[in-house]
């Protein structure tokens, strides 16, 4: 059999690869997507929050018939301590207006649906096939090699959308192995509950849903981030920790999950539920500073493969969708010129700079470092703030003024006044 | 093939319970006697009689044993062309008997031969067949046979019946029922039939028969299976597995991991992609109990598991849980058993 030739070869049928495939196929480009799983989403069993806006230009009538769970009307943010939390809640009737801001989704179903959109548009998706290396001509990527006999695919342009561990970005020398302090290990569980129980416990009705994002010291003072999302008949509960910290604190993901489930703020929400699925997964948390080179001769990198994860807001799939879309648009422009050199493809980086993707990633770019260098921010503040709230709210005959004084004293003792000022300034500069 | 137009469509004309007596080179399969025993019980409820049927080169010598286990009649077709089991002539012979004598129920052992034969006989007779059953009962109201069988690797049981077609056929797993002789056996009636086809009309020829267990083991044949997994640590350690199996008159097997590590040949793999077994005793040594393994053995009568991990899922289906190093435990067990064997306990 002769050469297999496509205009574009995409590695990975996740949100990034599939959105690129949809945009390209709709424009009549001959595109092939290679996926190593049994089907798109087969390696992504769990649920998450998916933002609607990024689907503009990919699937315009989203959600339409897409398999979504609940639309989110209330978001809770909690600073947690071993046995307490201080929270901020935002519920807004505007979140009940269509198009909904975001939905919870099950990735296995969602990715499958997205793949159907791609095939419907004319893209070809090949499953159960692993891309083993880029095919090079000098410095130029001219195709991909797969693990199958007669498995070479030649293409004008390759889009690497192969997820966190992006083998392609690594083998091109665009990035090095993930640093232990730039990757978190996430564990997730789907806990089945009655629809009515969820509606009652979270005070919602119909397809309304709630998310809770948590950060703080969950387990022996070790910094963790966690979330709870409501699905139709289950909640997704997840917790993540930077791998380096796990090693340092000698914690395994199971223990982390168990202590989250036992947390007094969480356990009543999941009581009586039955764990249906369990999954561990790596999340790149390095943000902007860990991003690899995004393009080269005949190649672009999109989604998690390019470390496009916003660790603060736990967004990822929307960045993946957007970057896939922009890579596709870049290809279309390059195809008009008939030139796929790094020079031409550099437009991709420009487009990303202009989009929210880079703006957001840049905005938070120092955060991971800040947190790493200043362990006390998450080690001590959550505890102090929780203690403070407790002191203030406890009625025990001590005047509020005296209480405030003692809290303040405690804080100064624990952290130091100038240090506190500096921290506030730093956080404001990084996040504000 | 048989002429279906000769088959009586009136199901009320069918009566009695038949058991197929399976034999190889004249040696009967034990399951046949298990079925005769069960058939007696069913016949008592139904108020009918039990008959045995055998086809072969020479099967008359089985008569005495067949009557001992409760058959009242023994239908025999003997001919040189039945020397080796072959699907087509066996089918045609049995179908002719069924068409002529109209049994209401026809039971066959769920062995390799029985499964091969029953599928084609049932289709030729255009009647229902319930495969691989583990339970048989007569519905007191209708007199129909209720046949119960596991599906989905034993996760679900289904009770099946066949109201409008005769005979009601099923294959029954070996070892499910006990073979018990009757108190005062009487010689029953022997009915001989002939077939009117000859060797040159049979297209299938057997060129070679190899009796061996190399590469081809029917694990379902054994009452005791001792299986090892990755936890056995080495191929050498499987010597203990084999020794224990041998002491217990059983055979040895393994998990897929053990197969992949080269400890056990694929032909001895138990599980979803191996064989499904249901022995009286299954001993799992160093096997974690992944679902793909469990579906192949969880219907065993007694399960004993030896595993260093007290949380291993194999324990969830085990009758006796032993949290020990199998490599240390097995020699001890073997030693004790040998003593018992020698000194009677």
């Amino acid at each position: 059999m002769g050469d297999i030739r496509y205009d574009v070869a995409i590695v990975g049928a996740g949100p990034a690869g599939l959105s690129a495939a949809i945009v390209l196929a709709k424009a009549g480009v001959k595109v092939i997507v290679i996926e190593r799983g049994r089907f798109p989403g087969s390696k992504n069993v769990m649920g998450g929050v998916f933002y609607t806006d990024c689907m503009k230009g990919v699937v315009d009538d989203f959600p339409g018939k897409a398999p979504v769970e609940r639309h989110i009307v209330e978001q809770r943010m909690w600073l947690i301590d071993d046995e307490s939390y201080v929270g901020f809640t935002h519920k807004n009737a505007k979140f009940d207006n269509q198009p909904y801001n975001c939905h919870t989704v099950f990735r296995a179903q969602f990715d499958k649906w997205l793949a159907q959109q791609a095939t419907g548009a004319g893209a070809l998706i090949i499953n159960q096939t692993v891309v083993t290396e880029p095919i090079m001509e000098g410095d130029k990527v001219v195709g991909i090699r797969t693990d199958r006999p007669e498995g070479d695919i030649m293409a004008d342009c390759v889009i690497a959308a192969d997820g966190v561990n992006s083998f392609i970005a690594k083998s091109l020398g665009f990035r090095s192995n993930l640093k232990k302090n730039a990757v978190a290990l996430g564990v997730k569980e789907i806990i089945g509950l009655d629809e009515k129980v969820i509606n009652d416990r979270f005070n919602v009705s119909g397809s309304q849903g709630v998310t809770i994002e948590m950060t703080g010291s969950l387990f022996e003072g070790a910094e963790a981030m966690a979330f709870l999302y409501t699905n139709k008949k289950s909640v997704s509960l997840g917790v993540g920790m930077i791998i380096e910290d796990m090693i340092e604190h000698n914690i395994n993901p199971n223990e982390l999950m168990e202590s989250l489930k036992a947390h007094p703020a969480i356990s009543p929400l999941i009581e009586g539920g039955e764990t249906k699925e369990y999954l561990a997964h790596m999340i790149p948390e390095g943000g902007y500073n860990e991003m690899p080179r995004l393009f080269g001769d005949g190649v672009m990198i999109a989604g998690d493969a390019a470390m496009m994860v916003n660790a603060v807001h736990r967004e990822g799939s929307n960045l993946a969708i957007t970057s896939g879309k922009l890579a596709a648009q870049t290809y279309l422009e390059a195809a008009e010129k008939g030139d796929f050199s790094a020079d031409t493809l550099s437009v991709y980086a420009d487009k990303l700079q202009e989009s929210f993707v880079m703006k957001d990633l840049k905005k938070y770019k120092e955060l991971p470092k800040l947190l790493q260098k200043n362990r006390h921010l998450l080690d001590k503040y959550p505890k102090l703030i929780n203690d403070a709230a407790f002191e203030l709210l406890k009625v025990d005959g001590i005047s509020k003024q005296a209480k405030q004084r003692s809290i303040w004293k405690n804080m100064k003792q624990q952290i130091g006044f100038t240090r506190m000022l500096k921290d506030l300034y730093k956080i404001w500069r990084t996040v504000g | 093939m048989i002429d279906l137009s000769k088959k009586d469509p009136d199901i009320s004309h069918y009566k009695d319970i038949w058991v197929f007596i399976e034999q190889t080179d004249g040696k009967p399969a034990q399951v046949s006697f298990e079925l005769l025993t069960k058939a007696r019980e069913l016949a008592a409820q139904r108020g009918c009689s039990v008959a045995a049927v055998a086809v072969g080169k020479s099967v008359s010598h089985l008569a005495e044993k067949v009557f001992k286990y409760g058959a009242e009649r023994f239908y025999i077709i003997e001919d040189e062309i039945f020397a080796d089991y072959r699907t087509e002539p066996y089918r045609d012979a049995l179908c002719e008997l069924v068409i002529k004598y109209k049994p209401e129920v026809f039971l066959v052992g769920a062995t390799t031969q029985g499964r091969d034969l029953s599928g084609t006989v049932a289709t030729a007779l255009r009647t229902g067949l319930t495969a691989d059953t583990t339970g048989q009962e007569i519905d007191p109201k209708t007199g129909y046979l209720w046949m119960t069988r596991p599906t989905f690797g034993g996760s679900l049981m289904a009770t099946i019946y066949c109201p409008k077609h005769r005979p009601q056929m099923s294959t029954v797993r070996p070892g499910v029922f006990k073979a018990v002789e009757i108190e005062n056996p009487k010689a029953g009636e022997i009915i001989r039939e002939k077939v009117d086809f000859t060797e040159d009309q049979i297209v299938k020829k057997i060129l070679k028969k190899v009796v061996s267990d190399e590469g081809t083991v029917n694990l379902g044949f054994y009452d005791v299976i001792v299986a090892g997994g990755k936890g056995m640590g080495s191929k050498e350690n499987f010597a203990m597995i084999k020794e224990l199996a041998d002491l217990l008159g059983g055979t040895w097997a393994g998990s897929r991991m053990a197969v992949q590590l080269g400890y056990v040949p694929q032909s001895r793999q138990v599980g979803q992609t191996g064989q499904t077994v249901h022995p009286k005793l299954y001993i799992a040594c160093g096997i974690s109990g992944a679902i793909q393994h469990l579906v192949g053995m969880q219907t065993s009568d007694t399960i004993i598991a030896i595993n260093t991990d007290p949380e291993a899922p194999i324990f969830d289906v085990s009758s006796y849980c032993i949290v020990e190093d199998a490599v240390k435990f097995l020699p001890k067990l073997i030693e004790k058993l040998k003593n018992t064997q020698r000194f009677g306990g």
Binding site: - | D116, A131, V210
Partner: protein, 269 residues
């Protein structure tokens, strides 16, 4: 040489769980797969085709989703795939299934030419009945070779096949004329990694649809209503309870177990 393989899509039995409260199977979220035995049947058919020339056709009876299983066969190298799908077949037992597949196969012979070798799996992992293959063979009045583990020889001039099958006590090698019907064991071959062009072809291939209207059916033999066997009830076996954990020294535990299993000891002669 024309080879026809009967394939079935089945729920992955290992992922089916039981709801002990309702006594039903939880099939939700259980992936449908190609019955493992048929992977080997298609593999063998494609190898024989590569060696002797000809073509491989696959046929399944099932709901529209079953075309996924057919695609897998095409990706393994089958040339053409037929889906026999019609509400009239719903609820068929093995006798009715073998009838539907027999008529489907006859249609394929009409469209694609005579078949030399028929293949089916030893059994389907959902029902475990192992009856459908023998049933189809009987309806065609073909010689049946079950538990196939090896094709030793194919002679297309003299029109015979020499093949080896498993028996209760070992193996036997048989010689049968073509056309012949096989049901296959997994040990028949080791699955190969299909070439990429096969996968691409499979994704692009059109599945040929057959409905009850296209094939020459006697409706009196189809579906639940005309199946001789009926399901009276389905129930879950009693959940196995975790048994006792034996405690004591290694010696003591070995003693306890030895006495438990002593009745199985082989008699010394």
């Amino acid at each position: 040489m024309h080879i026809l393989v009967f394939v079935k899509q089945v729920p992955d039995a290992s992922q089916v769980r039981v709801n002990y409260e309702t006594g039903t199977l939880i099939r939700e979220g259980v992936p449908a797969i190609l019955n493992p035995f048929e992977e080997h049947a298609v593999e063998e058919a494609v190898r024989l085709k590569d060696e002797h020339g000809g073509k491989v056709t696959v046929l399944t009876m099932g709901p529209p989703q079953a075309s996924e299983a057919l695609k897998q066969c095409l990706a393994r190298g089958a040339d053409k795939a037929y889906l026999l799908s019609d509400r009239i077949f719903a609820g068929s037992d093995t006798l009715a299934t073998s009838y539907a597949l027999y008529e489907g196969a006859r249609k394929i012979i009409e469209l694609e030419g005579d078949v030399d070798l028929f293949f089916a799996g030893k059994q389907a992992i959902d029902g475990d009945t192992a009856q459908t293959g023998p049933g189809i063979a009987t309806r065609f009045d073909l010689p049946l070779v079950t538990y196939l583990i090896k094709i030793n020889e194919i002679n297309l001039e003299e029109k015979y096949v020499v093949a080896t099958r498993l028996t209760e006590f070992g193996q036997e090698t048989v010689k049968v004329p073509i056309p012949v019907f096989f049901t296959v064991e997994e040990s028949l071959n080791v699955l190969s990694h299909s070439p990429l062009p096969y996968l691409i072809k499979a994704e692009k291939a059109k599945i040929e649809l057959l409905s009850g209207e296209n094939v020459n059916l006697d409706k009196q033999q189809c579906g639940l209503k005309h199946s001789p066997t009926m399901v009276k009830k389905a129930f879950t076996p009693e959940k196995r309870q975790r048994g006792a954990t034996l405690s004591g020294t290694l010696d003591e535990v070995a003693d306890q177990i030895a006495s438990k299993i002593a009745p199985f000891l082989k008699k010394v002669s």
